[in-house]
Symmetry: C2
């Protein structure tokens, strides 16, 4: 295998990325409320030697659930169940920095890391949706910049808590009655603009040292947060050029924080519709598209753009100009507008290209074509891998694992077995040393 | 079996209720950080047909971890792992109303209820410890009354969110493209003194309708909260008289909220040390006690009483008077002081009676003696069952399940198999109707 490794997550979007996925004959409509569904998908991902499963999250109903299945169950609970049924697959859950306390998040993910033998990842998001803010006592969502300032401090606190136990703080010596060497368990004494947290965490240092920190924002502030603190990013890019430009920008920003550029794994979203011939794949895409009610697609697009659906005319292009709303999800907004402008698409064509309202790139073709595309992006430096979004779950992932993965393996791009057992090992990320331990070491050397 | 059922939970206190439990030859000192340990205990509890496992929690280090194992891993993550390995045992996790948001708690427990097929219970606590407050941006703990006011409103919001989906809101009809009947999914529009929560929850109504609400406070405000909202209580009582008085008081308070007195399952804590003869049980207690460092016991007692350890003289009684500190855990404080005064104990004798700092009743004897004690309390109306606290885990529970449970079964006091699959069914609690559905029904009848 070549030095540089391809990384593949599956974004476990309930019944699949297509809004109509739950309506296929093969689909169980209740899947999004059934932890067994998540376990089955994770088992398939593990059979395919994928790096991780990834669960998106918003603490609110943000989609048109009259029409489609949605992210419902709380992700860390789901992943704890999945951990019990699997042994290698990484487990990444989204949790909001705006609607949680850093102590609780640090603790929950450290526990998941212990329970899974070092497979936990935390996708830190700031949660743009106004519907979420109304579930947490706020009548308006926090302004974009304020959310990211809090997020940065939140992640600092979480990382400090994960570092608060040195690796060898636990003693457990029965004869001397010494359980923990408390000189190696440190208060963090954090006092910042938004948080005051004494620490230490009440969970010892977990197998990965720190669970992997993931980030998914494409805005200026989002990229800055990723550059400062993320070890993997879930991005949106529609073309190789966009992907390359994003990677260059992020690695340059990381350098300003004194971080090596390749210390961040860049994973654009990639929706897949696979057939044994290209014609079969197109037919599958047509079927999936025809099962998406047009009212749903319009409502979803209007939601992304934060406009009144009435101003969207099906056979005309998007209104121009279309200003960025104050509290939009920047990544989704810009991805959608770029897609429309680049192809000069009508609203109807845009909806179809979005596949029912996604915004991430969709590729439709044979396993060979999918593998070629992945290889091209990877070799161009537009991606270190992908956050896969199969059209339908679990069937779309099963087809990928059984048909695309073997091609990538034959081309020496993807592992044929796991080399390690932790998510850090899958991603090729170092296990960090507690900054308290580093300080102790430095003092001993001086 | 007689009509009235005995209920038995095991309080899964890491290595066991004795501070020295981790030091026994049979114990794995790392057990409190190992989800496999929790799974093993749950499997034994399920083999014994117990109602539930119960996990205590505080989001801080509150014990002297230099000397003993402690509650560390986040309980809902642990229980999600346990759920995957078991099929019947109830799963009760503690979560603080002071350091969480109601939307997050409603969602996490609804998810656990879905993932476990209806076995989730939420033990709502207000968290008295000052060390916890300092992990959440507060320099001082909220005053007792304020904590309970918030807790009451918090539980109201959680219950409303659990009710926000009617049972039949999910449709999942592939042909009509109708996923959810949103006329049966209700905003809760809560605006109270402490919380403003729009809802609805983004999780459908879970198998139990609502996860079971448990409460564990013995103070005036704690009892009032339990009377208003709890379906099971974990209490502290050292004598049958105390137990009977508590039950009478709680049932009278419940009546003022329009609730039937027997709608609350009362479960005092009961620590057990079991031997095949009484002498053997006493020897085991001696061994356990001798392995508890006296510095630990003193520090723990001083913590419960919130006094300087230096004022506690080993061979004298507790100082008198001993005022209730403003932010003490009332139940633990009062239980400890009562125990000392009743027996006119010296500090040394008190420490031994506490078994290293617990406060709950300890019974030492043969399986027959333990069964007799349980039967006497149950028949006197001092308890509907017990929250068992085995001396050492898992071995102390194993002995209970293999030796005490069969006696209780032969006496027709305890189930020989589960009659249902949910925690509500084990506890004999009705499955509540969503108050939104009740309103719809009432409107249809009018």
């Amino acid at each position: 295998m070549s030095d540089r490794q391809l990384h593949l997550n599956v974004n476990l979007l309930h019944s699949g990325v297509y809004a109509s996925a739950w309506r296929l004959p093969e689909s169980d409509p209740r899947a999004c409320f059934d932890v067994g569904h998540y376990v089955r998908v994770a088992e398939i991902a593990e059979r395919g030697k994928l790096d991780a499963i990834f669960l998106a999250d918003t603490p609110a109903i943000t989609d048109r659930i009259d029409y489609r299945s949605f992210m419902s169950m709380e992700p860390t609970i789901v992943l704890a169940s999945v951990a019990a049924a699997t042994s290698h697959i990484g487990l990444i859950a989204t949790a909001s920095t705006t609607y949680n306390e850093p102590y609780n998040i640090a603790r929950r993910f450290a526990t998941l890391d212990l329970a899974s033998g070092g497979r936990a990842g935390w996708n830190a998001v700031t949660t743009a949706d106004a519907s979420a803010s109304r579930n947490f006592g706020l009548s308006n969502v926090l302004e974009h910049k304020a959310r990211y300032e809090r997020a940065k401090e939140f992640a600092e606190v979480v990382h400090a808590l994960w570092d608060s136990w040195e690796d060898d703080a636990f003693v457990g010596d029965k004869s001397s009655a010494r359980f923990v060497d408390t000189s190696k368990v440190h208060p963090i004494a954090h006092r910042g603009a938004h948080y005051a947290v004494a620490g230490p965490l009440n969970v010892p240092r977990s197998p990965q040292g720190r669970p992997v920190t993931v980030q998914a924002g494409g805005s200026h502030d989002g990229r800055d947060l990723a550059a400062a603190q993320a070890e993997a990013v879930f991005t949106l890019a529609q073309t190789i050029e966009e992907g390359v430009a994003y990677a260059r920008d992020l690695r340059a920003r990381a350098a300003t924080y004194g971080r090596a550029g390749d210390s961040i794994v860049i994973l654009p979203g990639l929706a897949t519709v696979i057939g044994s011939t290209e014609a079969e794949a197109r037919r599958r895409q047509d079927e999936l598209w025809e099962l998406v009610p047009i009212e749903y697609s319009l409502a979803r697009l209007a939601g992304t753009l934060q406009v009144d659906p009435a101003i969207l005319e099906l056979d005309k292009p998007l209104p121009d100009p279309l200003p960025l709303p104050a509290n939009a999800n920047h990544t989704m907004f810009q991805g959608t507008v770029n897609l429309a402008r680049r192809g000069n698409l009508t609203v109807r064509q845009l909806l179809r290209a979005l596949g029912g309202g996604v915004g991430h790139r969709i590729i439709v073709g044979t396993p060979e074509q999918i593998a070629n595309d992945i290889e091209a992006w990877f070799k161009a430096g537009a991606a270190d891998g992908f956050n896969l979004m199969p059209d339908v779950l679990p069937t779309g992932l099963e087809v990928f694992v059984d048909n695309v993965v073997p091609i990538l393996q034959r081309r020496d791009l993807f592992r044929t077995d796991y080399a390690g057992t932790t998510l850090r090992e899958h991603f090729g990320l170092p296990r960090p040393i507690s900054h308290f331990a580093r300080r102790t070491e430095a003092a001993a050397t001086a």
